[in-house]
């Protein structure tokens, strides 16, 4: 299990803007280490976001997403006190879910 995400969710004019920072290497599989050995691909492949337990968005990512990924998206509705949850799963099967309360 990776390090915790940082999730911010703020509601304004009926739209909740969610900003997520994830801690992940996002290795492409194309790089080599100092001794010339290929570093295996290791990246977040699947994402899902929920508002109060209801899935609102899913995503598939490839190794072209930057290290320590950032994602921002907007949910229609949502109000202070609602819960936003984000789950990622990487290509090694590791997964992590974190939550934030909408402000």
């Amino acid at each position: 299990m990776g390090n915790p995400m940082k999730i911010r969710a703020a509601s304004k004019d009926g739209v909740t803007e969610v900003k997520v920072l994830m801690s992940h290497e996002m290795e492409t599989g194309l790089r080599k280490d100092a001794s010339g050995n290929a570093i295996p691909a290791w990246f977040i492949a699947e994402l899902s976001a929920k508002l109060n337990d209801k899935p609102v968005m899913t995503a598939q990512w490839g190794p072209s997403i930057s290290k320590n990924p950032f994602l921002s998206f907007k949910i229609k509705g949502g109000k202070a006190g609602d819960k936003v949850a984000v789950t990622w799963t990487d290509n090694k099967g590791d997964s992590r879910t974190d939550e934030a309360v909408v402000t």
């Binding site: 390090n3 915790p4 920072l21 290497e25 290290k67 320590n68 950032f70 921002s72």
Partner: protein, 271 residues
């Protein structure tokens, strides 16, 4: 430093005048693009992830004494983290030394946690040990965000450290004859597309000092000022400055002291 060294060949200066017209229009567009890029990066700084890790490490019991760093005195009394980074480096009576945040953390790890920090000092950049130190420095600096830099040079050792740092700044050597001032010793220039702060001026010192520790997007790494300085020396073709050594603290003291009155903007995000 009032005057700059004359730059290069006199004949080159004539050429510079000749080419400036066309270069500028193209250059402005490039700079605009780069500014838009930097603006876009500001929203969502992965440094926050490291701040959180640093806070965990600060509060976690560790070492032979199974103690946390929460009682560490960063200069504002035991356990006070808020605002401490903005007053560092400073003289500490217990060690009879001027210390920056990072060398002070080593002191606390030694005295409070009973950890032999030698392997933290010698560990390579990017090693788990150095990552821990960087995360802790990131946490500490974040607790001084928006605080005014107020670094004392009143103590004779502080004054001496400041002056040694200034002298180090101009110390040129190695196969390329580089000193810190080669790149950071004149106003308004850049290396490739990277603007270079003119460190001897309060504005330049502040733009450097108040934005580190920073997340380096190029490497996806969190760098404290110790790492930043070590990489400057690497590019200078110098040997490696020892983590927490007086050379590094002197340069930090020179920058911090020169940027007094500026506002801490840490942790930053950089190319």
């Amino acid at each position: 430093m009032t005057r700059r060294f004359a730059v290069g060949l006199a004949t080159c200066l004539a050429v510079a005048g000749f080419a400036a017209g066309t270069a500028r229009a193209e250059g402005d567009k490039t700079i605009e693009g780069i500014e838009a890029y930097r603006e876009a990066l500001k929203d969502g700084n992965p440094a926050e992830l490291f701040e959180a890790q640093g806070e965990d490490l600060w509060k976690k019991k560790a070492g032979p004494k199974n103690a946390s760093l929460e009682t560490c005195d960063l200069g504002m009394g035991p356990g006070v983290v808020a605002g401490a980074y903005a007053h560092l480096p400073r003289y500490f009576k217990d060690t009879d030394k001027v210390q920056d945040a990072e060398s002070r953390v080593l002191t606390c790890m030694t005295t409070i946690q009973g950890i032999d920090v030698a392997k933290y000092v010698s560990a390579r950049w990017g090693s788990p040990e150095k990552d821990e130190l960087n995360a802790i420095a990131t946490f500490i600096s974040g607790m001084s965000k928006d605080v005014k830099v107020e670094v004392s040079t009143a103590h004779p050792k502080e004054r001496q450290m400041f002056e040694l740092g200034k002298r180090m700044f101009y110390y040129g050597g190695g196969p390329h004859d580089f000193s810190c001032s080669t790149c950071h010793g004149q106003e308004g220039v850049r290396i490739r597309l990277q603007e270079l702060p003119y460190i001897p001026s309060p504005k330049g010192a502040a733009s450097g000092w108040t934005s580190w520790p920073a997340y380096r997007v190029s490497a996806g790494q969190m760098w404290g000022m110790q790492w930043r300085l070590a990489d400057c020396f690497r590019q200078q073709r110098f040997p490696e400055p020892i983590y927490g050594s007086d050379v590094t603290i002197a340069l930090s003291m020179f920058m911090a002291g020169t940027s007094n009155g500026a506002t801490m903007n840490t942790p930053g995000i950089k190319r």
